[in-house]
Amino acid sequence: MKLGAYPAFTATAFQARLAYRNQVWSSVFGELVATFAFIAVWTAAFADRGSVDGVSLPEMVTYVLIAGPLLQWNTTPFIREVGDAIRTGNVTAYLLKPLHYPGLLLFNQLGNNAFEQVTITLPVAIVVALSVGLLPPASFAHGALFLAYWAVSWSMLFLIATVVSLLAFWVLTAFALDWFLRGIMAVASGAIMPFWFMPAPLATILGNLPFAWVSYYPSAVYLGKLDIPAAFLHLALGLAWLAALGGFLAWLWSRASRRLVVQGG
């Protein structure tokens, strides 16, 4: 194992994204429009009420920014890329290297994500902060815990997306998998609608699924909606989910690499 190779993939992915400057501008614009659309919807929903179910409008605006541009629950580009590599057989280029494919994907995605944070999330956050306003973390402890939750969120999203995209080795097209996951993520991650606005039974079910650690729990911890002991407990639960998914991914990969069908000669 050449461990030094993996960080090199992070740098290379970051660099490759720089090749298309126009893409950066259009992504920033798209993300701004989407963010302000959500803010407009919540503003209309609050309709001059100070708070709904104990949540204020400024808290919802901050939630929108954290759950959306910052934590990036959208797995479509990743699944499409991996799915295409499998569908066209280009995945062979990676399998011919002395590299662990999921490990390579992890570091590659780290580069992609770092690029997006710097070029998209940061400008959008600045615009929202200056125009509508953003709240700081509920307390120093919540802020510090949020950083840990951010790491869990990123890893969870990566594991979920990788597990789903590796299923393409069996079904040979990631298109349906992408739609399937997108539907689940939109609801179950809490990215669009926080669980506190959902009926209690639904919120309980979703709160125990791994998707909740992608958007809902990190945002809720930032805003102080979980007290510190609850935040620690859920951090531990999130780590347990990570371990379970990580184990499942390792098993899935060992199966997938044995049943590779290289398409297209």
Binding site: A8, L95, P98
Partner: protein
């Protein structure tokens, strides 16, 4: 063949079968296919055995769908054989995919391993990390390869701006940066123009001679084999047809030399016993000399004087013709079949 006769690749009865879900034609058929889970077995490779020694250059030849790429993919460890035993550098390539990958180089003519949006040099740099190549060795190899493959002018250009010929040379260079013991090439000259093909062939041949890198090359361009590989493995429909030296194949199939006689004016049909008339264009007549013991003098003796003969052209059969004959007749010639 090299002086050292250590086998670095050994295939023994290797087979690969793919299971494909049965497809049915038309919309009705497509709907039926959603529920029908029948599979068709496709035998891509059937019972193939051979050994390859270190330093050899072997051409793996066969028509489309003959199972060439499948065999390469098994040797590189990305496909698992369904049967038989395969050993590359003393290991089963699939169970040791990563260790195997560190010691081989692979070029797929139809797939790029370079980063599309980055300069060639950046993809090379990434490979330096992947294979943990010592800095001095990397610099040395980069200099050697960019000189040999004339890449100096475009190392800093993004891959998407390169011509196919330039890209293919870069692909080959990238596969060699880490000094692989074996270089696998799957149709490396596909789509290249004559000049680019020539550059690639000359380089591979030189690499094999000077550095002793073992080369396994699949192609359906016979000139690749003629110029690079003294040894030929021919397959069709997944089965081994021939394994041996190109010269042996040529000899065994007989030297069907072609003779063209050109006359000042059309002398009318001339039939000979020493040569078979294959095409008559009037002033130019084409014959086939099928028997080894008949010389040009015998033919000219039989022809006699007085026909106004202007020019004579005698051609040895090229490898392409030898192989075409082979595939058409699929002989079980003693001494030719494996």
């Amino acid at each position: 063949m090299g002086v050292m006769m250590t086998a670095i690749i050994a295939a023994s009865g290797v087979s690969k079968t793919f299971h494909q879900p049965k497809r049915f034609a038309g919309l009705r058929g497509a709907l039926k296919g959603l529920f029908n889970r029948d599979y068709t077995e496709i035998h891509a490779v059937t019972d193939i055995s051979f050994t390859i020694a270190a330093g050899e250059a072997v051409g793996y030849l066969g028509p489309n769908g003959a199972g060439k790429s499948t065999m390469i993919k098994m040797m590189t460890g990305i496909l698992v054989p369904s049967g038989g035993a395969l050993s590359v550098l003393g290991r089963a390539p699939h169970s040791h995919r990563m260790i195997n990958a560190a010691e081989i180089g692979v070029v797929f003519g139809q797939r790029s391993q370079l980063w599309w949006d980055l300069p060639v040099r950046d993809s090379f740099e990434l490979n330096r990390h992947i294979y943990d190549i010592p800095a001095a060795r990397y610099a040395e190899n980069l200099a050697y390869l960019s000189d040999m493959l004339a890449m100096v002018g475009y190392l800093d250009r993004p891959v998407r701006q390169l011509s196919l010929g330039q890209r293919m040379r870069a692909e080959i260079a990238m596969a060699l940066l880490h000094d692989p013991k074996i270089l696998f090439l799957d149709e490396p000259t596909i789509g290249l123009d004559v000049v680019a093909k020539d550059a690639v062939r000359k380089f591979l041949s030189k690499l094999n001679r000077e550095r002793g890198t073992t080369i396994i090359l699949t192609t359906h361009d016979l000139q690749d084999i003629e110029e690079i590989c003294p040894r030929l493995i021919m397959v069709d429909e997944g089965k081994l047809l021939f394994d041996g030296e190109v010269t042996r194949l040529r000899a065994a199939l007989g030297s069907r030399r072609r003779l063209t006689l050109t006359f000042g004016t059309d002398p009318g049909t001339i039939t000979l016993t020493t040569a078979t008339l294959t095409a008559d264009e009037g002033a130019a007549k084409h014959y086939l000399l099928e028997r080894e013991d008949i010389s040009l003098l015998d033919v000219l003796g039989e022809l006699g004087r007085g026909h106004g003969l202007k020019d004579i052209k005698l051609e040895e059969p090229d490898i392409e013709e030898v192989i075409r004959t082979f595939y058409q007749t699929k002989p079980t010639l003693a001494g030719v079949s494996p």
